[in-house]
Structures are given as structure tokens and as C-alpha cells.
């Protein structure tokens, strides 16, 4: 071997040995490919409300501060410093200088002011904007030159700084409007219903420790593929580079075939839960409404379900019994004192007896002599939920309850739980990506649209709901983290006792990543794989063309 070749080999070997360093393997023309499961409903970052659009916003949007998905701490991005006032209703940012949008338009405080005013425009109906909407009045912005901005909101907002993680800054001057971006990529091509092509933003401001401009990967090809099995097939063929939120079956399949590709990032933010319809005007017989309104009945159901079995059988051990509306993945806000309901059918029957139910010949009767039977709706096509429902059916048979499982397509299910209220119980996973409990105000306030077991109450229907209202408002009105935590812990305990939601399991964050993709550190928060997209790089590709 010639001396020059030997030196080249040694250099390549050295670069490969450096963990996390792109070295000479970050190829020009490299392309990351993955699937999203629905069409992004919007490319306007202010209107993002679905996972697919959030993916595009995360990859293209430049934000003032970013929540580091690994440390769960805020880190500077377009803002190099920020400070909130004591009242919690104002924040000032010092902005990074010499930053340009993807089309070359300079970035300044005027862009931040423009973005905030558009975000808070009531006519926009921006979900991100609604997170900032507390109290009546106008938002006020004051610029201090090109690189300073002060933003004052009408009322205090708990966790105000963290909300800016979702605010992608728009350009006030660019003729390309929201298509001019400050993030690592920009949308180069969008074939509706088929794919999106993102290309590297040549004006992206971030550089690595060696001074090289980020991101390393040249382009991202995002296919819209609803079918998870086909996504898996394509991953195995090397046509895509990773799968987020992998199912337990596919995880185990890959564990046997390609163990180097799988990662279990621990418990995720996702919870699977059951709730009973407690809406007073629901088209249900009164005796069933009475069952569902009883905390003892709900607790008995909760105690009758073997959560550990659900985690073991349905999720192949990649899940853990759930206890609260806040996942253990949310390190600060989770109440670690809570324990999951134990599987104890004797205790469940004692609770039911106290409510006038009786078990005769393996069948449970209420105090009027009616057999206890109800239906559980869930979304069709979700095999994990269908299996969970089947196991819950078996568990409830152990206390003499007959459960009928009804699977519906998602829009039909949604219609039942939000409009017609023609359902008895529902099994669903309500995803919560925000760490701050304020993001769930609409779920816990009894007047909330998403207080899903009994929404839009004029006055709280029960004393415990009134108490939750008080505590949630209290935590939202104070800026002291300790006081907020105490109030949120108390809400978690009330919810555990009253069981309006019966939490079943928290799934693990399972991902599959091609061995060609480097510097990947999967996390429990979304996005699980590409949260550090700028730092990812591709090795020599083994991908076959489609």
C-alpha cells in the first residue's frame, strides 16, 4: 500500500473514531428520508396544530429559545439572552446579530414584533397564540434597536419563556412571507399528499464547535405514508432512515433482525386512558349516568384492570403502568409520590358493593337489579388499543361486568366524544407534548372545551372539579415554581382519587434508526429522533433507490 493511501486511511479511521464528529463522512448531497403519517395541514408556522405540520415547523422554523429535548431546559437560539419580569407578564429578548432568513432578508427585532402581533391576532385563531392568551387586552411590543425587544402580555403567563419554543419567527420584509425561514432547512418542494423536500438553509446562523456551518445533512425527503407496516417495510429495505414512535411489535421484530437500529428512549409523554361519559345531556339511560358519575364505580374499574399485564402483553414490556395525567417523562411536574392503582378485584368488588352493586353467579347487578354492561369505543386500526380493549374486557369479566368493544374510524369517534356524546366509555391516548401543565388548562378547567368527560360546564358539577379549577387557576397565577408544583401535585392526587380519566399505561419512546445516521440520541419528548437535526450526519449510504 502506498504511503499516501495509508495516511488517508488513518485520517478516515481517526475521523470515524471521534464520536459525534461529522469528519469526512458528512457527504455533500446527503439526504435524510423518513415518513410522516398525514399531510401537514399548514406550512404557516403560526397555525400549526398537527404532528405533521409540527415536524415541518421544527425543521424549518427559527425560534428565539429552544427547549432542549434531552435536558428539558431552555437554550438560546435566535435570542442570546432573555429575562422575564417578576409579574410574569413581560419578557425581554436580546437577539443574535447578523442573522438572515433563508431568502437573504436580514433578521431584526422588527420581525419578532411582527410575529408576535400576527400570533396574537384573534382573527388568526393560532393554537400557538392561544397558549399566550390569558386575560383581555392587547399585547405590547417595544423595540430597543435592531437586537432588543420587550414584549408585554395583558396578564401573567406561567412558563412564559418556554412557550417561545413553538414560536417560529416570520419575516416582516420578505416577499416570500412565511416561506422565508430562520431554521436549518426550508421547504423546497411540496407535492401535496405525497412528499415534501426540505433543503439546507444556506443562511442558517448556527455553526459547530469547529466553525463549520450547520446542518450537515443537505436535504430531507419526507414521505407521507399512512400505513405503518409499509413504513416498516421501507425502513428494512433501507429506503428511509428512521421511524419515530415505533410499535412494540415492530421494535421486537427489528430487535431480532437488526438490533443495532433500535432504541428504547424510556417512558414517553404518551398515556393510554379510559374515561366514562359524564355529560348530563348525553343520550344514555339515567342508571348508566349514575354508575359513571360514581367515583367508587370508576375506581373499581381502575382496580379491576391489570395494567402490568397490558404493559407486558400489548406493549411487550415497553410500557409502564400509568398513574397520572403527567408522565414520568416530564421530570419536573410528575408527582412521584403517586402509585398506580393496584390490580385488586376483591377491593374493586368491595367498592362496588358500597355503591349497591352485587355479584351473583359471575354477573354484576346494580341496586335496581340491572346487569352491569357498557360499551367502550376506540379508534379502529390501532392494534395496540384493540388488544388493550380485549384484555380490559377479560379483566372486567372477572368482576362480572360485560364490556362491549366498538371500534370506529377516528372522525366518527371524534364526533361521538365531542358532539353527539353518544358513547359510554372511550379508550384513547391524548398526547401531551407540552411540559408545562398550563398547556392542559382546557382539559382540567370544568368550563373547558376539552374537559372531555363533561365539557363546557357553567359551574363545576362536583366539589372535586371545583377544587381542580381553583388549583389550576392558582398555579397559573403564580410565577413561583415551588407553589405551582404544589398545586399541580394536588391536582394529580385529586385526579388519581376521583379517576375521571383511568390512566392505563405510559408507552416507551421506541425508535428505529438506520446505522447510516450518526449522532442520534433518541429522547422521550417529540421529536424523538431529529430533535438535534443540525448535528445529525449521514455515513456512506447503503440505500437502494425506490
Amino acid at each position: 500500500m502506498k504511503r499516501r493511501e495509508l495516511i488517508a486511511l488513518l485520517v478516515v479511521g481517526f475521523c470515524r473514531a471521534l464520536p459525534g464528529a461529522p469528519g469526512s463522512w458528512a457527504q455533500p448531497g446527503s439526504q435524510l428520508r423518513f415518513c410522516i403519517h398525514s399531510e401537514p395541514k399548514t406550512l404557516n408556522p403560526l397555525l400549526v396544530d398537527d404532528d405533521a405540520s409540527e415536524t415541518i415547523r421544527y425543521l424549518t422554523g427559527g425560534v428565539l429559545v429552544r427547549l432542549n429535548r434531552m435536558t428539558q431546559q431552555l437554550q438560546p437560539e435566535l435570542a442570546i439572552a432573555w429575562k422575564m419580569n417578576r409579574a410574569g407578564d413581560a419578557i425581554s429578548f436580546t437577539l443574535r446579530k447578523n442573522v438572515r432568513f433563508s431568502d437573504g432578508t436580514p433578521f431584526s427585532a422588527a420581525d419578532v414584533a411582527y410575529t408576535i402581533h400576527r400570533l396574537m391576532d384573534p382573527a388568526m385563531h393560532s393554537p400557538t397564540g392561544d397558549s399566550f392568551r390569558f386575560g383581555n387586552g392587547e399585547v405590547e411590543t417595544r423595540m430597543g434597536g435592531e437586537d432588543r425587544i420587550y414584549i408585554k402580555f395583558p396578564a401573567p403567563i406561567a412558563g412564559l419563556d418556554k412557550l417561545f419554543d413553538q414560536v417560529a419567527i416570520l419575516s416582516v420584509n420578505s416577499p416570500n412571507r412565511e416561506m422565508a425561514v430562520l431554521g436549518p432547512y426550508y421547504v423546497a418542494e411540496n407535492k401535496a399528499g405525497s412528499y415534501l423536500l426540505l433543503k439546507r438553509n444556506a443562511n442558517y446562523w448556527k455553526r459547530d464547535s469547529a466553525g463549520r456551518q450547520l446542518p450537515y445533512i443537505e436535504s430531507i425527503h419526507i414521505d407521507i405514508e399512512q400505513n405503518r407496516d409499509i413504513e416498516m417495510l421501507r425502513f428494512e429495505r433501507g429506503e428511509i432512515d428512521f421511524i419515530d414512535s415505533l410499535s412494540a411489535e415492530n421494535y421486537d421484530r427489528l430487535a431480532a433482525r437488526a438490533p443495532a437500529t433500535i432504541h428504547d428512549a424510556g417512558v414517553s409523554m404518551d398515556a393510554e386512558q379510559i374515561w366514562f361519559n359524564q355529560f348530563p345531556n348525553a343520550p344514555l339511560p339515567d342508571y348508566k349516568k349514575a354508575w359513571f358519575a360514581s367515583a367508587r364505580f370508576r375506581s373499581a374499574i381502575s382496580e379491576s384492570i391489570h395494567r402490568a399485564d397490558l404493559a407486558r402483553v400489548v406493549f411487550h414490556g415497553h410500557a409502564q403502568p400509568a398513574v397520572s395525567w403527567i408522565s414520568p417523562a416530564n421530570r419536573f411536574w410528575f408527582d412521584a409520590r403517586l402509585r398506580p392503582y393496584p390490580f385488586d378485584q376483591k377491593s374493586a368488588l368491595r367498592l362496588l358493593t358500597q355503591d349497591g352493586f352485587s355479584l351473583r353467579n359471575g354477573v354484576l347487578y346494580d341496586r335496581s337489579g340491572r346487569t352491569v354492561e357498557f360499551s367502550l369505543i376506540t379508534n379502529a386500526g390501532n392494534s395496540s388499543r384493540e388488544r388493550m380493549a380485549a384484555m380490559i374486557q377479560q379483566d372486567l369479566a372477572g368482576v362480572g361486568i360485560r364490556l362491549n368493544i366498538v371500534t370506529l374510524d377516528f372522525p366518527s369517534l371524534l364526533e361521538r366524544i365531542t358532539r353527539s356524546y353518544a358513547y359510554e366509555a372511550c379508550l384513547l391516548g391524548l398526547v401531551n407534548n407540552g411540559l408545562d401543565p398550563d398547556a392542559q388548562m382546557n382539559v382540567w378547567l370544568s368550563s373547558g372545551e376539552n374537559h372531555i368527560w363533561n365539557p363546557n360546564q357553567k359551574t363545576p358539577a362536583t366539589a372535586w372539579e371545583a377544587e381542580i379549577d381553583r388549583l389550576m387557576r392558582a398555579q397559573a397565577s403564580t410565577m413561583e415554581a415551588k407553589k405551582r408544583k404544589e398545586a399541580v401535585d394536588e391536582v394529580q392526587e385529586i385526579v388519581w382519587r376521583q379517576a375521571p380519566f383511568i390512566y392505563l399505561v405510559n408507552k416507551d419512546a421506541l425508535v428505529a434508526v438506520s446505522t447510516n445516521l450518526h449522532n442520534v440520541h433518541p429522547v422521550a419528548l417529540q421529536p424523538q429522533v431529529y430533535w438535534n437535526i443540525e448535528q445529525l450526519w449521514m455515513g456512506p449510504t447503503r440505500r437502494r433507490d425506490r
Binding site: 401535496a192 399528499g193 398547556a439
Partner: protein, 294 residues
């Protein structure tokens, strides 16, 4: 006595009027079904706990829930007259643009599928009838029976797994129907007395086929051609969805899943129009010799 020109004019006018009526009816029924389907106007976004009550209301309004069905249809027709096919709610693009992007893909898939299905189906039917080959008849019959039993989606999935071109699936869906119908038609025509006489007189197989069998079976084969277009279009939906071919079939699936009223109605009308044109064309061609010669 009617001239061929007058015959064509009258037939075209009659069929065009009928097509327009069926088209309107198809569109209205499509809109009615989509509007009445459970879950119409629902969006998972409503479960977003960040949304204010006003935003949820705005979201519902944007989904067109408040608009009555006749109201929708009047607006829809008004727009259509101006050449505006509306906006897809799920894909957030003008329907006209979506159709322009995706129509060539489906045209290619369906065209290839039809060509393949007809070539194989008619070819094997002719072989089975003309050469009275028991082997060809049995093999093709068995293949046709098996393919008739397998749903298009299963075939498409199989092609995805073996990494074969998905477009061929449409051919496999069309083939058994063509083979079975064509074989029966040709058999019946081949057993007619004048065909037997021609054979007895020593006419060659090809001449018998072209001059005596096909003219008899021709009108029904043309009708079958019209039907096969609808068959191929129907097969295009699962095939394009599973094989990830960005055509009209995939668009129809997405529209149905998203309860996308404007897109669904447009697609219903387009598929109805294609089917009607194919069937009408076949019918006119088949009737021409009889009526034209009257």
C-alpha cells in the same frame, strides 16, 4: 332514411344529455353521502388543549359544518360553472391543481393495467376458443379464478413486499373478468352455424376469427371494454394507496378518510364522467352498424 351524420348527431345529443343528468345526480349523491357520513366536519385538532373556545368555533366553521347540503351544492355548482373546482380541505390545495398533478399517474396506471388485462384476457380467450387448447383453457381459467378471489388490496400488498411495479396489479384485476367474459362470448360466437360452416369449408382459423367470430362478439366486447374502465379505476384506489402511487385513486382515499367534501364530490363526478364516456363510447360503437344501416 337516416344519414350517418344525423344518426351521430342525435345519438351524441341524447347521450350527452343523459351523461349530464347522471353526472349531476352522481355528484349530488356523492356530496350527500360525504355530508351524512359520521365524522363529517370533525378534526383531531379540536382535541388540542391549547385552543380557545373561539378558535374551536372558527375551526368548525372553516370545515363547513354550518353549511347545509343544498347550500353546499349550489355554491359548488356555481363555482364549477366558473371553472373553479374548489379547495381541498385536507391537502390545502386547489382541487384543479391536485387533479392536474395526479391525473397523469392514474392515466398511466389504468392505461397499462387495461392494456395488460385485455392483452392477456383476450389473448388467452382466443387461444382457448380457436385452438381448443384444453391446457390453455384450464391454466387461464384457473389463474382467472384465483385472481378473482384475491382482493385488489392483497395483491397490491404482495407487490409491495416483492417490490414489483404496483401498476401491474390493475392488469391482474382486469384480466380474469376479461378472460371469462371474452371466452364465453367467443365460444358462443364460435358455435354459431355460419362459423361452423365456414370452418367446414376449410377457412383458416385467423380468417374465421376476424370475419365471422369477432363481428358477432364485437358489440358485447365493446360493452365489456366500457365496464373494464370502471373496474380498473376502482382497482386503482387500493393499488395507489398501498403501492404509494400518487394518482387519483390515492387522492380519493385521502379525501374519503378526511371527509374532504369538495374533493370527494369532484372525484365522484370525474370518475362518473370517465365511466360514462367509456360506456357511452362503447355503446355508440356497438350500435352503429345496426342503426346506421337501418
Amino acid at each position: 332514411m337516416r344519414t350517418p351524420g344525423r344518426f351521430w348527431l342525435r345519438a351524441l345529443a341524447r347521450h350527452t344529455a343523459r351523461m349530464l343528468l347522471v353526472l349531476m345526480l352522481g355528484g349530488f349523491l356523492g356530496a350527500t353521502l360525504a355530508r351524512m357520513a359520521p365524522g363529517f366536519g370533525q378534526d383531531a385538532e379540536e382535541l388540542d388543549s391549547r385552543l380557545s373556545r373561539e378558535s374551536v368555533a372558527a375551526l368548525r366553521q372553516a370545515r363547513g359544518e354550518d353549511e347545509s347540503l343544498p347550500g353546499f351544492y349550489v355554491h359548488f355548482l356555481g363555482r364549477m360553472v366558473r371553472g373553479d373546482l374548489g379547495q381541498s380541505q385536507t391537502l390545502q390545495e386547489p382541487v384543479r391543481q391536485l387533479l392536474a398533478e395526479r391525473f397523469p399517474e392514474t392515466l398511466e396506471s389504468v392505461g397499462l393495467g387495461l392494456a395488460l388485462g385485455w392483452a392477456a384476457g383476450l389473448g388467452l380467450a382466443i387461444a382457448a376458443v380457436m385452438w381448443r387448447s384444453a391446457w390453455a383453457d384450464l391454466t387461464a381459467g384457473l389463474a382467472a379464478s384465483v385472481l378473482l378471489c384475491v382482493p385488489a388490496a392483497v395483491l397490491a400488498l404482495l407487490f409491495v413486499i416483492i417490490q414489483a411495479p404496483g401498476r401491474l396489479v390493475i392488469g391482474l384485476i382486469v384480466f380474469p373478468k376479461i378472460f371469462q367474459f371474452a371466452r364465453n362470448l367467443l365460444l358462443r360466437a364460435a358455435s354459431l352455424p355460419h362459423v361452423l360452416t365456414a370452418r367446414a369449408k376449410g377457412l383458416g382459423g385467423l380468417r374465421v376469427l376476424i370475419r365471422h367470430i369477432l363481428p358477432v362478439a364485437g358489440p358485447q366486447l365493446l360493452a365489456l371494454a366500457g365496464v373494464s374502465v370502471s373496474l380498473a379505476l376502482a382497482a386503482a384506489i387500493p393499488v395507489e394507496v398501498l403501492c404509494d402511487l400518487p394518482g387519483i385513486g390515492q387522492l380519493a382515499w385521502k379525501a374519503a378518510m378526511g371527509r374532504d367534501l369538495a374533493l370527494l364530490v369532484d372525484l365522484t363526478m370525474i370518475v362518473t364522467l370517465i365511466t360514462l364516456v367509456a360506456n357511452t363510447g362503447a355503446e355508440l360503437l356497438a350500435r352503429r352498424p345496426r342503426e346506421g344501416g337501418a
